[in-house]
Symmetry: C2
Subunit: 215 residues, 2 copies
């Protein structure tokens, strides 16, 4: 049985839950309560699994894997059906570029430890932190909107008509954006795909509110 050390609200965890669901793989849900400062990600037990103190960590047949995108590529290689990447190198490059636009340009700027540093070390106010959050979400998602709306390969999902790595990254990011009241009105293509994804049980069952550790 695959074990997933994760946290309901962590969007990197959310991504892996969607991928496991799309592959039809059952897994043991092991909650790692994250908090700024004293969260369980900093315990010696967890650091032995992942010295970076980050979730998710997936354990498959005793092998420990970290970094959500690496885990999802691994799942796609070891369980090829249904595929999470399209058939040609060029199409895969497009799907990965959309996914990485979220993973590298939006999410890292807005995670718990970065917001903690802004507040505690730099003395940035709550209002300024929210503005920071929305700035990076909106800048990043407008770029994704442009990548999607200006390309005929976009279908009912980010690429064609089945869910790929790009959709797996997109949906958790939108959940985060909504939590911080970001303005998503200028991203109609993104939001249409978001709604379409949530019609699939693989996405709907992975949302934060449905997890055992949701609070």
């Amino acid at each position: 049985m695959i074990e997933l050390y994760n946290y309901f609200r962590s969007s990197a965890s959310f991504r892996v839950r969607i991928a496991l669901n799309l592959k039809g793989l059952s897994f043991e849900y092991l909650p790692v309560p994250l908090t700024q400062g004293g969260g369980q990600q900093f315990t010696p037990e967890f650091k032995a699994l992942n010295p970076a103190s980050l979730v998710p960590v997936m354990v498959d047949a005793g092998q420990v894997l970290s970094q959500s995108l690496a885990i999802i590529e691994y799942l796609d290689e070891t369980h090829p059906a249904p595929p999470l990447l399209p058939a040609t190198a060029l199409e895969r490059a497009r799907v990965r570029a959309i996914a990485l636009s979220i993973a590298c340009e939006i999410h890292p700027l807005n995670n718990l430890r970065v917001l903690g540093y802004l507040g505690k070390t730099l003395g940035v106010s709550g209002e300024e932190k929210s503005a920071w959050y929305r700035h990076w979400v909106e800048t990043g998602l407008l770029a994704v909107e442009s990548m999607l709306s200006n390309d005929s390969r976009t279908g009912s999902f980010c690429h064609g008509d089945f869910a790929t790595l790009a959709d797996i990254l997109l949906v958790p990011q939108i959940f985060n954006a909504q939590r911080f009241d970001s303005d998503l009105s200028r991203m109609p293509t993104v939001m249409k795909i978001f709604d379409r994804c949530l019609q699939l049980p693989a996405f709907a069952d992975a949302v934060p509110a449905k997890q055992v550790d949701a609070s």
Copy 2:
């Protein structure tokens, strides 16, 4: 001929230059001078190539690709020799996790536009910006050091004895860290691999100082 829109000091550009060199692929170097605010990445011509206004952009047979990791995976799929990823899914997951630890946890926090926002919008001082920079580099690279030093699969390179995607990400990040006087003394494994990589012409020829737009 492959075209590479890039900038000598951009570490995402540096990664793709290394990958092209490792594959023995020649390319046309098209400099995109980046500056905070009015850089050429914001011109309508460049935005038509990449709406995200980010380098690098690679054009291969008329097809436009963005996001350095997606470009490198594409190069590895379309030009398999020499490989930039190891042979098994589990090993590939490890190499990708090291690469993503740099691409997602370190680099995004320290690029030009983030430092610009800290200074201009949040009024953070130059000294505080340098401390921010070093904080994320050192936190992130110590995690990478731990991933490397506690794993028998680490060889003279990050994974075994040939250069992979992980080394391609590591070397530009160290160049950046050195520019900002980060403390790298606690990362002996990282630094040994860094030195080994730079013995290879593919890495040495890709360094910022050797590019036509270096200043």
